[in-house]
């Protein structure tokens, strides 16, 4: 029996740099989002800077989209990247909620 051969679409030469830069920016912008969110919550930054945090999350999501499209990821991987983006959005909220409760319980 001849098994099905799976062909992958090649990445054009010009797209490699954009892929590497955008994947690095996913993490850089994601780090800024989480960092600013955390810094505002512990009063290291003023509250008005919080929209900046969400702006960085939007940039993160855009870079994920760009990276995924240029890599020609499959349908499942595309969904996985959306889950990762939403996970990153929710992560500091969930962690801060728990942190806050624990701090309150311990009067710390």
């Amino acid at each position: 029996m001849i098994e099905e051969v799976i062909m992958r679409q090649d990445i054009p030469l010009d797209d490699f740099l954009t892929i590497f830069v955008s994947s690095a920016l996913v993490m850089v912008f994601g780090g800024f989002y989480v960092g600013i969110y955390t810094a505002v919550k512990v009063n290291l930054l003023k509250k008005w800077t919080m929209p900046l945090a969400y702006m960085f999350w939007m940039l993160t999501a855009y870079c994920l989209y760009l990276m995924g499209s240029l890599m020609h990821v499959g349908e499942f991987t595309a969904k996985a990247l959306v889950v990762a983006a939403i996970g990153l959005l929710l992560l500091p909220h969930a962690v801060y909620f728990m942190q806050h409760r624990v701090h309150e319980e311990n009067e710390h």
Binding site: I19, A39, A80, H108
Partner: protein, 477 residues
């Protein structure tokens, strides 16, 4: 549970920890030295030809890396156990005996690598020379020795954990070190089929590094934050449990990002891609962990009206903060660069992997283990507040600058390889050589060597500082 890490004098467990740290530092030096030899050989292929060939220098470089980190990990656990459990480590005499067994085995293995180098390629090689499995190339006799030592270490940890006060940090370590020791067995049996062999080999390498070692780092970071800045234990341990869940959750199935290279079924592409995409999340959580606890604790101190730093060990805390950043950068950014299978098809086995490896091992593990060495120096010398010295600042600057420089150089080299060797020439034999002969690749290798030398210089400052800072009058006692 108050920490008494400043009173390390007199504790046999902490004394054993300092032995482990000392040998770890020696092997760390060996790792850098053989790395330099390998880097020179990239630039001057004839260097030490037939005396210490590239394959042997590279093998010593990466195996020394694993060994010094394992030694420093065992040392860290022996250091924190009395603080966390409130009692002296059980079975400490056996622990000391096993330490010498471990040291002797490592020394013999290194001598064999140096002077015998290559075996007859039959069972004798596997038993007495090396097994040829990258990162865990120890011959079979040493494998058994390592298992015995690891089991003795785990037994000491478990017996002490059960008898003493049971903190979250110790509980996490007890579970983690069982997995750490147990996984080693997956790399010990030999199969003739290279695919099956690689399948099990990844169990050791990936699950060690991206699951058990990362969880270990989480536990050590938690201990460090409690001892160095007085972070609240309940808060820190809550973080730890979140990180453990996320690390195991993403790290275990993230192993799929290696499977698609060894002929496993197609669905591993998708499993690998999904969990690889999730793997940076716990690293982000660890990054917040340090930032959050530091900010909160310093904020509480500032609220008292006194502008006093809450950090009682500046050099160690510097390395711990570098760990939070380095883990995020090396494992997170440089990992995410090339983990998704669609792009890994082009980057696998290029200098991209090497760039990621250098920064990830340094950022995620070396930093925090060096931090633990400074905590041990503070404890054994009874220092209340340990400050940065000129040597410690030189050490941290040169080592971090050197490793970052190597990483950038290797990234550029990797990019050239991706474009030339893989994308243009289709991963052919000719493409491999064309990728290596380009100007950008060659210059990147020159820079890698230069930055490696800078790193080694930083290591010399680190050794000087670790040996002398204990007696330095600059610290508050």
């Amino acid at each position: 549970m108050a920490s008494n890490h400043l009173t390390g004098i007199g504790s046999e467990s902490k004394q054993l920890a300092t032995w482990y740290f000392t040998f770890a530092a020696i092997i760390f030096g060996a790792q850098l030295l053989f790395g330099l030899v390998a880097a020179i050989q990239y630039v001057m292929p004839g260097f030490l030809f037939e005396l210490l060939d590239f394959s042997v220098a590279r093998m010593l470089h990466i195996n020394a890396l694993v060994v010094w980190m394992v030694f420093a990990m065992f040392g860290s656990v022996y250091w924190l156990l009395p603080d966390e459990t409130g009692i002296e480590t059980i079975g400490i005499k056996i622990g000391k005996l096993l330490y010498w067994v471990f040291v002797a085995a490592i020394v013999v293995v290194i001598l064999v690598y140096l002077f015998i180098q290559v075996g007859p390629a039959d069972e004798t090689s596997i038993w007495f020379i090396h097994e040829g499995r990258e990162y865990i190339e120890a011959p079979r006799w040493a494998d058994f020795g390592i298992v015995v030592v690891a089991l003795g270490f785990v037994a000491n940890l478990w017996l002490t954990g059960f008898k003493g006060k049971n903190s979250g940090i110790v509980t996490v370590l007890m579970a983690d070190m069982i997995a750490f020791a147990g996984l080693y067995l997956a790399g010990m049996f030999f199969t003739d089929n290279i695919t099956v062999d690689q399948y099990w080999w990844w169990w050791v390498i990936h699950l060690w590094v991206e699951a058990t070692w990362e969880v270990f780092v989480g536990a050590i970071a938690a201990y460090g934050l409690i001892t160095m800045i007085g972070a609240h234990r309940k808060v820190v341990e809550m973080w730890l449990w979140i990180e453990v869940a996320m690390l195991f959750g993403s790290g275990i199935l993230g192993i799929g990002h290696h499977y698609f290279w060894i002929g496993t079924p197609e669905y591993w592409w998708e499993i690998g891609a999904l969990f690889s995409a999730l793997e940076p999340l716990p690293l982000v959580a660890m990054f917040i962990h340090v930032l959050y606890d530091w900010g909160k604790t310093q904020g509480a101190q500032d609220a008292t009206g006194q502008e006093v730093s809450v950090i009682n060990n500046k050099p160690a805390f510097t390395w711990f903060v570098l760990n939070a950043f380095g883990n995020f950068l090396g494992a997170g950014i440089w990992g995410f660069f090339h983990t998704l299978p669609q792009v890994n098809l082009y980057t696998h086995g290029t200098q991209f992997t090497s760039a990621h490896g250098h920064l990830a091992f340094f950022g995620a593990y070396a930093t925090i283990l060096i931090g633990m060495m400074y905590i041990a120096v503070q404890g054994t010398n009874g220092i209340k507040i340990m400050k940065n010295t000129r040597a410690s600042l030189w050490a941290v600057s040169l080592i971090v600058g050197g490793v970052m420089g190597m990483t950038i150089a290797l990234t550029i080299a990797g990019y050239v390889q991706v474009l030339v060797s893989r994308a243009q020439m289709g991963a052919t034999w000719a493409g491999y050589f064309d990728g290596q002969s380009g100007m950008w690749f060659a210059q990147a290798m020159d820079w890698r060597l230069f930055m490696g030398a800078i790193t080694f210089l930083g290591f010399l400052f680190l050794v000087k500082d670790l040996l002398s800072t204990g007696k330095n009058p600059v610290h508050e006692r």
